[in-house]
């Protein structure tokens, strides 16, 4: 057995020179500043997603100033993977005989919390009104306590005035709150997952395919372990209430996936809360087995699936594009969903 506990004496002598510690600390500082400079100056330019997020306020303003039907598609990767905006507007134009414009505002792996701040940031601003905001969703996206990408929320979708709201409603643990506050000041920290991705896609040619395969398997593993449980809808209720206050018309659309647990999820509580506000709710799942030939992976569609479901979406939206929010919405905004 080694009962050795320390080499403190030797270390004590070695660290006696404070100049050495100062030099090391300076090197550390320089390295961290270098990485921060890279993150601020280069990474945003190199990341297509970050560029896209930065363009949203401009795109929202442009969309709002178009004439005809103005539709914003807000949500996770489903928005750009499962919906063809060109096809959608063509079909809506044909059905309504009014020029239609649609723009995607998506953030991969985002949930209702992030969508609220995206709407707040881009559409609930003076002059940025659109006719309809479509929110396509799958899985548990409408419920609270999903694992959010906190760095992205901090850097692109919130400002200092949102901090109290984010810290109170959207983040549950001290770790998440610390992560959010750090991300606001420290881009290297906020964008660490992008830096990881950048490093590995350059070092390992097959990394993206591997990551996707790993994610699919781990999804399946989590599903076998985690029992369904009732979850709260605080963030969804906030989104609905604020949308009503801004007279923003919403339509929630459930998309099918290849995940049986998601396809079978009834969303009864979420639907009740949504419909209580007079907001439209469309379910594009047919309830039966899905045609696997329409999917590129477990969640997203391929070109064929995208075309089919975009048409289905357009057909479902046509009757929705009518009068504004109902009286139920006003009641909800005044007193909450359960009242």
């Amino acid at each position: 057995m080694s009962s050795s506990t320390s080499s403190s004496e030797a270390i004590g002598e070695a660290v006696a020179a404070p100049a050495r510690a100062t030099r090391i600390a300076l090197v550390l500082l320089v390295v961290l500043c270098g990485v921060e400079a890279f993150a601020r100056l280069e990474l945003v330019r190199m990341s297509k997603e970050f560029e896209q997020f930065r363009s949203y306020p401009r795109l929202a303003a442009e969309l709002a100033h178009r004439s005809g039907l103005r539709i914003a598609l807000v949500g996770a990767s489903i928005v750009h993977e499962d919906i063809d905006t060109g096809l959608l507007t063509d079909r809506l134009r044909a059905a309504t005989r009014v020029p239609a414009h649609a723009e995607s505002f998506s953030a991969d792996h985002s949930f209702v919390n992030t969508w609220y701040f995206m709407l707040n940031h881009d559409f609930w601003q003076p002059g940025n009104r659109v006719d309809l905001v479509v929110i396509p969703f799958v899985g548990p996206s409408l419920y609270d306590h999903n694992e959010m990408e906190i760095g992205r929320l901090a850097r692109f979708f919130t400002t200092v005035s949102d901090w109290p709201e984010v810290l109170r409603t959207d983040l549950d643990t001290t770790a998440e709150r610390a992560d959010f506050l750090l991300s606001n000041f420290w881009v290297s920290w906020a964008a660490r997952d992008r830096m990881q991705e950048l490093t590995f896609t350059r070092l390992l040619p097959n990394y993206k395919a591997f990551a996707r395969e790993q994610q699919n398997l781990l999804f399946a593993q989590v599903f076998t372990k985690r029992a369904h449980r009732a979850r709260s809808l605080v963030a969804l209720e906030r989104l609905l209430r604020t949308a009503h206050e801004h007279a923003t018309r919403l339509c929630f659309v459930v998309f099918p996936t290849q995940r049986a647990d998601w396809n079978g999820q009834p969303y009864a509580e979420a639907r009740r809360v949504i419909e209580a506000t007079g907001t439209d709710y469309v379910d594009l799942r047919d309830g039966g087995d899905v045609d696997t030939s329409m999917f590129a992976d477990l969640v997203h569609m391929n070109v064929d699936g995208r075309a089919i479901y975009t048409r289905l979406l357009a057909d479902a939206l046509t009757p929705v594009l009518g009068p504004g929010p109902s009286e139920a919405g006003a009641a909800f905004a005044a007193g909450g969903a359960g009242e």
């Binding site: 050795s4 270390i11 090197v27």
Partner: protein
């Protein structure tokens, strides 16, 4: 509460801010309260178990040494135990109770109190047993010395093993017994398992408390008559839930005697904490998804990974478990250094061992030596011929396997490890040193030992014995190279490679001074690397420390 949780560091900062300003007695009190707070974060009711272990071994150690507690102290201990049972285990909803009292709402206060008599089952049973024990104590003190020493030792052993057995193994043994009866064709009426929640680190602190009484019995440790000091010895938070398991002869004197700030402790502590967090957050947590992906596929059936993918999944687990466990030990040692304590080195580059025996002298050193000193040697050790020695090795390792978890995979892992040790002893394999002239031989033996250890860890990690065998067969029969295997190898090298090289240089934590005495640019590179990896490459998802479950 975990080291990878910011709340821990906030609370620790608060403790540290006061710690060195206090006198020794108050320092111990602060550490005791902090230890209970940290542990209570999981579930405050678990504190009751620690308290039982503490009081039984406190009385046991003194009883073995022939120190008679005066009546008023015995009654005070009984009151403490019964009071804690009432407070911690009577299902009072304290948050609601506090709110009711603040708002002077009698209805809310009544609603927060227990409703049924069975809510008081634990306090009532505790009161009965405690009062009986206290009543019997004068009689035990009056026994002849030899009988008294043995009786107190036996009470300590039985109580600790009963706690461990009930909380960790009850469901396992009941389930296994029912399965055995089913296999024999006996249809038993439906037996419902208790579904007992496993208190984190229970195996660590019960072993530590137990070893204290044994050491006092053997004359290897001097008992303390200060309950607070002893309680701190049992629950000292840096190592409470995942070791290293400290002996009374090493830790208790550090608790009892005043501690001093020594030059170098702060820096060594910082390095240990940094290395420990690196091992946990960068290596273990990042390798976890890759490992889970491979082992999950064997658990569920269907499409299986290829042989190279499976092998890399197994390698990944080897580094994950090492990063996880040695990472915890490093952080524990670092924090203890900041507080003026020395905890023993628990890992010493085990994957550079050249024989299975050497591996076990370098891996989880505090547990290996615990089993050696308190089980293997009392069983007879290597005295009594080869057959007895091999029997003792296999019994010891099988029980070590069971210590790790209540599942047959752990039992088989332990027994298999015991067989490997016996074969190694039978072949008379000697350790090979990494010196000029025999480097190739050393390398070959390191690789051989590493792979033998890997083969045992197949059982450790797999969800079942058939899944482990299936995976082993796949590794040995399928050699299809795939792009996935290439990516896994790349990730493994990226995360574990540099730290492994650094550990080889410093021989684990044994010669950290090599890093401190290296030219400053080299030190700066090492620190910058660790910090950058912690900032840019922490795992997306944090995981519990694996050894918390043991």
């Amino acid at each position: 509460m975990n080291y990878n949780n910011p709340t821990f560091w906030l609370l620790f900062a608060a403790v540290y801010a006061f710690y060195w300003r206090l006198r020794h007695r108050r320092q111990n009190d602060l550490l005791l309260v902090a230890s209970y707070v940290f542990y209570g974060f999981w579930d405050y009711r678990f504190l009751f178990l620690i308290l039982i272990s503490t009081i039984i071994d406190f009385i046991g150690g003194l009883g073995v040494a022939g120190v008679e507690l005066p009546k008023w102290r015995r009654l005070r201990l009984a009151a403490l135990l019964i009071g804690s049972a009432l407070v911690l285990c009577s299902n009072v909803r304290y948050a609601a109770l506090a709110a009711g009292l603040v708002h002077l709402d009698a209805h809310a206060v009544l609603g927060a109190l227990p409703e049924r008599l069975r809510d008081f089952a634990v306090p009532l049973a505790t009161a009965a047993v405690t009062l009986a024990y206290v009543a019997f104590l004068p009689w035990l003190y009056a026994l002849p010395e030899r009988a008294r020493r043995k009786t107190f030792l036996t009470i300590s052993m039985v109580a600790n093993l009963a706690i461990l057995g009930f909380f960790k193994y009850c469901d396992f043994f009941v389930g296994s017994f029912v399965n055995l009866l089913h296999a024999l064709g006996v249809q038993v009426v439906d037996v419902r398992l208790l579904g007992i929640l496993l208190p984190p680190g229970i195996s660590f602190y019960t072993f530590q408390a137990m070893s204290y009484t044994v050491d006092v019995y053997r004359g290897d440790a001097t008992p303390t008559d200060d309950l607070r000091d002893f309680a701190l010895f049992v629950c000292f938070f840096p190592h409470l839930v995942a070791g290293p398991i400290m002996r009374a002869s090493t830790l208790l004197p550090q608790v009892v005697h005043p501690r001093q700030r020594r030059p170098g402790d702060a820096e060594e502590g910082l390095l240990l904490v940094l290395l420990g967090l690196f091992k946990k957050i960068v290596i273990a947590d990042n390798l976890a998804p890759m490992v889970n992906m491979i082992f999950f596929q064997y658990g569920r059936g269907g499409h299986l990974p290829t042989g190279p993918e499976s092998l890399l999944g197994l390698y990944g687990f080897m580094f994950q478990v090492y990063g996880d466990f040695s990472g915890y030990s490093s952080v524990a040692r670092g924090i203890a250094k900041w507080l003026g304590f020395d905890l023993i080195i628990n890992f010493q580059t085990p994957y550079l061992s050249t024989t299975p025996s050497e591996h076990w002298r370098r891996w989880h050193i505090s547990l290996s030596t615990w089993f050696r000193d308190y089980l293997y040697i009392p069983l007879g050790g290597s005295r009594g011929g080869m057959a007895v020695e091999y029997r003792n090795v296999i019994i010891t390792m099988t029980l070590a396997g069971l210590w790790h978890g209540a599942a047959w995979t752990y039992v088989i892992w332990g027994a298999y490890t015991g067989v490997l040790l016996c074969i190694s002893r039978a072949l008379g394999t000697k350790e090979v040193r990494n010196v000029a002239g025999q480097r190739l031989r050393w390398l070959w033996r390191v690789l051989l030992t590493f792979h033998l250890t890997c083969s045992s860890y197949l059982f450790f990690r797999s969800s079942s014995v058939p899944a482990a065998l299936h995976m082993g067969a796949r590794i040995l029969t399928d050699f299809t190279p795939t792009a996935t295997a290439g990516t896994m190898l790349g990730l493994l090298l990226f995360y574990a490679g540099p730290l492994f090289a650094l550990e080889a240089y410093t021989e684990g934590e044994r010669h950290l001074e090599r890093l401190f005495t290296a030219p400053w640019p080299r030190q700066a590179v090492a620190y910058a690397y660790c910090v950058l990896m912690l900032v840019i490459f922490p795992a997306v998802q944090t995981h519990e420390f694996i050894y918390f479950q043991f």
